[in-house]
């Protein structure tokens, strides 16, 4: 739709400065291509003083010095750029070795969004005693374990998230591998117990939906519970990450007991969904 032409659209184009402009005269751009003739100062001054007969231009001596002077080099490069159809005065190119980044910055360039959100959350769940650096190393080892393990053999009775990449692709993208495992086994709901409603001292089970981060957190806690019960096979810093990674592979292959936990929660939630209509809860949920 074309913009409407009225007073308000004209006002929108107005810009108001609250402070006076300090830099009254903007610095002219260094247009070296235009200043080329003036680069050799000795000849110009000589010309201005002697008006009668301009001396023979000293082509043989001055030319090599002139062509290799920095002004000339810059001018030549600017001309070349202009010949290629690039604006030599583009601020994205001029004065920057690698150019300016495209805005808005892509997410990984931001200090606080360096990692994939799933990786970031799982890393913090792996952390013990506030040792984030150790948790990060563990996470790197988990991802390397996933990368070097053979492609998983899927179990059709434990389907992964719809739209998950084929198993042969998973080892190449360990972050995706981890994400698929966690998201697939994450429960959709949790069971909230309301006491004093059902009567007889029983609590009333009511299913409640979970947000994405909550779902991931619960799934990872289940996985870590299984890992804690596993026997350690070796010693050294690689042991814990390899146990976690083995469990993640077990989840994708459908061997993990975590699937049963998820199924149990969903079963209870399905059975208890009638409780959502309990007369004492109406208007409270």
């Amino acid at each position: 739709m074309p913009p409407r032409l009225n007073v308000w659209s004209a006002c929108r184009a107005l810009s108001i400065r609250t402070r006076p402009v300090t830099n009254a005269t903007p610095r002219p751009r260094a247009a070296a291509a235009l200043a080329r003739g003036l680069a050799d100062l000795s000849t110009t001054s000589h010309n201005s003083s002697n008006t009668n007969f301009p001396p023979m231009p000293q082509t043989t001596e001055s030319q090599p010095a002139e062509s290799s002077s920095p002004e000339n080099q810059m001018a030549l490069s600017q001309l070349t750029m202009a010949a290629y159809g690039v604006n030599p005065f583009d601020p994205a190119i001029e004065g920057h070795k690698f150019g300016l980044p495209e805005l808005p910055l892509p997410s990984p360039m931001h200090m606080k969004h360096r990692y994939d959100p799933v990786v970031l959350q799982i890393t913090k769940l792996l952390m013990r005693d506030g040792k984030l650096s150790k948790a990060q190393r563990d996470m790197a080892m988990i991802l390397n374990y996933l990368r070097t393990s053979p492609p998983p053999k899927l179990n059709p009775s434990r389907p992964l998230l719809p739209g998950a990449p084929p198993p042969s692709h998973l080892p190449f993208d360990p972050v995706m591998y981890l994400t698929v495992a966690i998201e697939s086994v994450a429960p959709l709901i949790r069971i909230r117990g309301y006491t004093g409603i059902a009567g007889g001292g029983h609590k009333l089970d009511v299913p409640a939906p979970l947000a994405a981060r909550q779902r991931r957190r619960i799934a990872m806690q289940w996985i870590l519970d299984v890992v804690a019960k596993k026997n350690s096979k070796g010693s050294g810093r690689g042991m814990f990450p390899s146990r976690v990674a083995e469990e993640i592979i077990a989840v994708v292959e459908g061997r993990s007991p975590v699937w049963d936990k998820r199924q149990m929660v969903h079963k209870v939630g399905t059975a208890a969904r009638a409780n959502l209509n309990h007369h004492k809860l109406i208007g409270k949920l």
């Binding site: 990692y115 390397n144 990368r147 070097t148 070796g234």
Partner: protein, 475 residues
Amino acid sequence: MSAPNCLRGCLVQRPAGGAAATLLRHSTVMPATAAHFSTSTPLHGNMMKPQKPGPKSKVLLVAKQWKKGKVADRGGKSPLPGERKAFRKRILLSNNNALPVEGLTYIGPGDLLDHKNVGKVMSIPDAAVDQLRTAEVFKPTQTWSIFRKPSMLVRSETVDLLNRMHTALGKEKALRLVIAGDRITGKSMLLLQAITHAYLNDYIVIHIPEAQELSIGATEYAPVPHSDPVQFMQPNYVLKLIQAIRKANEKLLAKMTTIYSHPDLPQNIPVSSPLLALANSAKEPESAWIVFRALFQELTVKGHGRPPILFSLDGLAHIMKMSEYRTAAFEPIHSHDLALVRLFTDCLSGAVSLPNGGAVLAAMTRGNAPRVPSLDLALSRRAAEQAGRHKNQLPQRPAFAKDYDDRVEAVLQTVELLQLQGVSKPEARSLMEYWAASGVLRSLIDEATVSEKWTLAGNGIVGEMERAALLTSRF
């Protein structure tokens, strides 16, 4: 019950009296040449065997108190002895998920000498991989397990080092050199490249993969008979070393024949029998050191078609200090009084020459190394000499310093020093292109990426580049 001549076992059991006391007397009567001092195995035996009911000593009571805390039983069978360490130390050399890289060539015998190959990534031939594995040159901390097949970057330092080795070989001399450098700059990797070159060019390689195994008191030791001043051999370690040498250099050893008669060997090896038979005669730890001496004597004969020798060791600082071993009088033993270490340090200092040429290489380690002031001083003096400083301007010991060691400085009097630093940007780029072609690094490799990782890695320190690009959770 512990072995009768076990040092620690005797000390522990001294207050118990009775049988232990008689054993202690017995061990003091025994001649020193027959005594085997050990710390680890008999102790291990003690722990494995059920304790006999008898007079309880104080030590046992304390042990009982320690056991009070309940250990969580997770069910299943626990790993067998040695299995945990095997898991920690296992070396995987291939990853079938990684993409095969096109245009990757195998290293030939002369490839690492050629300056044209600087900045190329090349694969180790399969035969050499087996030899390197036998000699335990690969380390579990290196990132072999991520890639399809073992390949490595040829650095300018590699070509430089190997050309120096080659020049020394032409003069029938040994290059005596210490590889130093910051953490994860690739010191062990450079050693691996030198050893690969040696295997491809028919050197005999004697490699001590972890110097600390010799000096931290983890392997058995015994005095060498008739040695004055007394030296100590490490029979089990030397037996393992001989077996590794035999397996990795089998073809060469089969070709050569003995020229000395060795009357003190446990098995009769007549003159002009193959050296392989001599190496094979080491079957028991007791005779291992004698066989090793005989083998080394045969290998260092001048002429007779003997190949050059590469004698290398990783973790030099560990053998430049007092070891954890003790003499019968409970005096600490200097590492240089351990016979195998002495042989290496003699070769490194030039006291024992390798007449057929070769190299004596020692790599420093920075991860777990003890601080040895004499070693640091000696290396800084070598560095200053190589920088062309005058003899009077070399670094000196600080006045009143006590923890300096003359023996260490004497060993390093004339060695050469190779100081490793980061790789150059073209080398870094080639390495990163290899990572990307393997499907391991999922990013476009352009000048900006290379520059980013190179800068993050402290101006191209290879291990840091690996950390920044491969061992990260940021993809």
